[in-house]
């Protein structure tokens, strides 16, 4: 059975391109365009992996969604997905990335995260998705 990927990004044009690429490589794809919709889609679509833009409508919407997914609280609605791999998309560049480390090993989020900067390199996307799902 093919793996399902949820793309959460408020840029619908970019989402459409990424979806096309992932579908061509045999993944099933669902999309949401805000942090809140992303969380709803997570419960409804039950994806194997999430591609999450962390620089959506507000600077923190994506990070908040990721933190909700990764929450260790016993009562968390997203408990079943707390270990879902997340490919984090950022547009943060070298100088401005002081807030969040780009190094997955000392990441602010526990769990399996991959990082990808925009503009998305398609090979890198496929490699990171493949690795996270392996």
């Amino acid at each position: 059975m093919s793996k399902k990927i949820l793309i959460v990004d408020d840029d619908r044009d970019l989402t459409a391109s990424l979806a096309q690429v992932l579908k061509a490589h045999g993944y099933e794809v669902a999309a949401a365009h805000s942090g809140a919709d992303g969380l709803k889609a997570l419960l409804a679509e039950r994806p194997d992996l999430v591609v999450l833009d962390v620089m959506m409508e507000t600077d923190t919407a994506g990070f908040e969604a990721a933190a909700a997914v990764r929450s260790r609280r016993e009562t968390s609605k997203y408990k079943a997905f707390r270990d879902v791999p997340i490919v984090i998309l950022t547009a943060i560049d070298q100088v401005t990335n002081s807030r969040f480390s780009m190094d997955p090993s000392d990441s602010f989020l526990p769990g399996r995260n991959e990082f990808l900067t925009k503009p998305v390199d398609l090979d890198e996307l496929l490699a990171k998705v493949g690795r996270a799902l392996a």
Binding site: D11, D13, L14, S17, A91, D93, K118, V120, L122
Partner: protein, 364 residues
Amino acid sequence: MGVKLLFIDDEDIVLRSSKRIFAGSGYEIDTASSGDEGLAMAMAEDYDIVVTDLKMPGLGGMEVLKALCRDRPRTTVIIFTGFSSVDTAREALKNGAFDYVPKPFTPEELRSVVANALEARKNAAGAKMLDLMAIVSHELKSPLAAVQTTAATLHRGYFGRLEPEQRKIVETIIRNCSYLEDIIRCYIDLSKMELDGLTVFKERVPFASAVVEPALDMPGIRDNVRKMPVVTEFEGDPVIEGDPNLLKILVGNLVNNAVKYGAEGTPVRVRLGVKDGELVFSVRNEGVGIPEEDLPRLFKRFERIKQKGTEGVKGSGLGLYISKTVVDKHKGRIWAEGEPGKWIEFFVALPAAAEGGPEAAPAA
């Protein structure tokens, strides 16, 4: 655009000598013999600089100054002051005057104050432009990223096979996206540096392994489309104190330039060594080079040297300015040498860190 000056003074001799001093400067000079007349002129026209006397019958210079600061904030006001009236000069500065010229003045004194004012105006305009560009750049990043990724998707055939002609056109789109991305990155880097006043981390940085190698490992450099091999000659891995991210920007800019402006297919030489307690890093390419008289202009903001053979190359005119800013923050020097039409080499000298100082990081 011409520079327009207005001199306001009730003494005819001051007006005449001011006119004479700037005769042949190419500036447009107007004069007014009273505060009322001068203020009316300054309100009606866009003067770059108004130089006004303080003590005049009728409307005084301080009133002219205040009115101009309020209603013509883009005009720079300079004050003539009589016999060492330091207090009034100070008051004028407090009210927004750029500087004052004590009377009697020599032609040199007046020229130099006006020159300073013009320079300051240029810098202020540059800073404003930079702020604006940084804001705009930030907004441009997301749509550009979408265009770039979409074009790449098209190029790779995810939406159907492309004919060779179509592929070429899509490549043009992708190439221009990269230029634009480069420009945007420059503005953002630069505005960050200027806004933060750039608090440089002081970290011990092995220059070859932590700066040059990662900077050279970027796709645009490693597999550059201009087929220019990057040849490295490192003498060890000298350590300096600095900010590795900024230093990577510096190295990336210099090597990117070499790839952009060098002759296709020729090697880019990247050298690193230590000389007289300094780390010396250089990037050399073959190609059109730069005439000697243009070398000092290279590191100024927004300067792009119009050079035969580089017409098709697109850039922000900020890369070398950013590089110089980074070097200055590290108390180093940057310069260029070359032979026009043959080669150019950019050098960076940075103070080497003291060996194993008390703040030395444990060996990784």
